[in-house]
Assembly symmetry: C2
Homo-oligomer: 280 residues x 2
């Protein structure tokens, strides 16, 4: 398993690169973006993973979130993976929908045909990519944080809840907090996993908490003018689950903000500082 | 002349919008992006114009430069126009080249057919758009600054040199400092203006300075790893012209930076602070 650098640019004293590698889990070439802060020239640095939302690639966060400035100040590596397998032979939604198939891997290991061969984003992000990053990049894997947006917020929360010891800090922007209880999630989980809802619970942040998963703390920002707020995102479900489980949730309802990267950029510095404080 | 808001999002406490209007100068609908800082709710605010480079629309700066954060802190409106006329009936480079026609207006008033009807970006930016902005937006037009990147750096420098009283602050990222002395410029000026090089001088920052134009100060950042540095950008020509004319030029050669928005974003805060100090 080797790592190709597709492009790189100096940025805030560090390096923003796009990398490509052949993935065993997804059975295709995968890309991810990595910002290496200037501090990595001298020592391994902590890493913050950013999982993106529907339709995104590794590029959206990289060019739109404005995260490199604070990451350079605080000495954080940033890694933004793609949101699905891609390439020849990777099946897409038959109708070309934006919310299933390419760009919409939903951070699951699919069990249904024809998705199960390539759509293994859970194992890719839990095992394969961290192993590659730990081997190839100047990173301290004992200090990892994870954040995400929308579908990627769901990804960040569920990965962290299943493996809390791996992450010292977790946060999300406008996450899908319960895919079992929204149209995006029901479509994706039915398609990738089949109709047995018991199999969905490990991919639902609220269900994981109900089933006993815990986090030491959690930061979530949610815009009040987000068009998906009532139908898909439903932060009140996470609020209720965390309250019952006594998980300290900082849920900030940001007045007037929508679902876009203009919202994410506005609060990115807060999130990176939250991570930096916990990553030491 | 009216202004349609195509989209808007809250961003750093202000509003990032994309606007559309029917332009008399270019004979087509034009778009521009505007960031209105929170301070504009209480009083007219200064405005900084950002002119973009080849292939760009109003969107590139808006999503990639990370400028809104400092603009919100300092109370600056940001306006990013498109780089050419567009739409049905607007001619493009016959070969579809990226450096002429659509996305490559070069901030001139074309005098040659078939370009002269629509390619009037100089008059659009010197007269029509400022008049519209001054009438429709909460801006103090006595406090204007201008900056740009690459072709847009050329635009910012030449517009400011021709009309220094309009701008209290001028800066550029990797500007084309002398289109008369580089392939991009020679192609564009020949195409839009014809072969008589005497007609080109008002569109060449170095020639304008040689011919007597002056600015009170100028900030330019140029990456040393910029692939266009030696062939197209040639900051040493601006350095020589400014030295001879006693124009205080702060030219910073930024080690290892390329021509991308990762370079622009890295130094955007410096430029906005330069403008804010001069715009009061």
């Amino acid at each position: 398993m080797s790592l190709d650098i597709v492009s790189q640019s100096k940025c805030f004293g560090g390096t923003q690169a796009t990398c490509r590698h052949a993935s065993t889990e997804t059975g295709c070439d995968m890309r991810f973006a990595v910002f290496t802060p200037p501090q990595a020239a001298h020592r391994p640095v902590p890493v913050v993973w950013f999982l993106s939302g529907l339709t995104c690639t590794e590029e959206n966060f990289t060019v739109k979130a404005g995260a490199q400035r604070v990451a350079a100040e605080r000495g954080l590596m940033l890694i933004a993976p793609d949101t699905s397998p891609r390439g020849e032979g990777v099946p897409d939604d038959p109708a070309g929908a934006y919310d299933f198939g390419l760009g919409a891997g939903f951070y699951v290991d699919a069990t249904r045909e024809p998705w199960s061969k390539h759509y293994r984003m859970r194992s890719y992000l839990e095992r394969e990519l961290p192993a590659l990053v730990g081997r190839e990049l100047p990173v301290d894997m004992m200090r990892q944080g994870i954040m995400g947006h929308s579908m990627g917020g769901h990804g960040a929360l569920t990965i962290a809840l299943r493996e809390p010891a791996r992450f010292r800090a977790v946060s999300a922007f406008a996450p899908i907090v319960s895919p079992m209880n929204c149209p995006w999630g029901e479509k994706a989980l039915t398609g990738y996993l089949g109709p047995n809802r018991a199999m969905w619970r490990t991919y639902d942040a609220c269900a994981l908490i109900e089933d006993g998963a815990r986090l030491p703390a959690l930061l979530v920002d949610q815009g009040t003018a987000d068009g998906f707020l009532a139908s898909q995102l439903k932060p009140e479900l996470l609020e209720a689950a965390c309250e019952k489980a006594e998980i300290p949730l900082t849920l900030r309802r940001q007045d007037g903000y929508d679902h876009s990267y203009f919202f994410i950029a506005s609060f990115m510095a807060d999130h990176l500082r939250w991570h930096a404080e916990r990553l030491g």
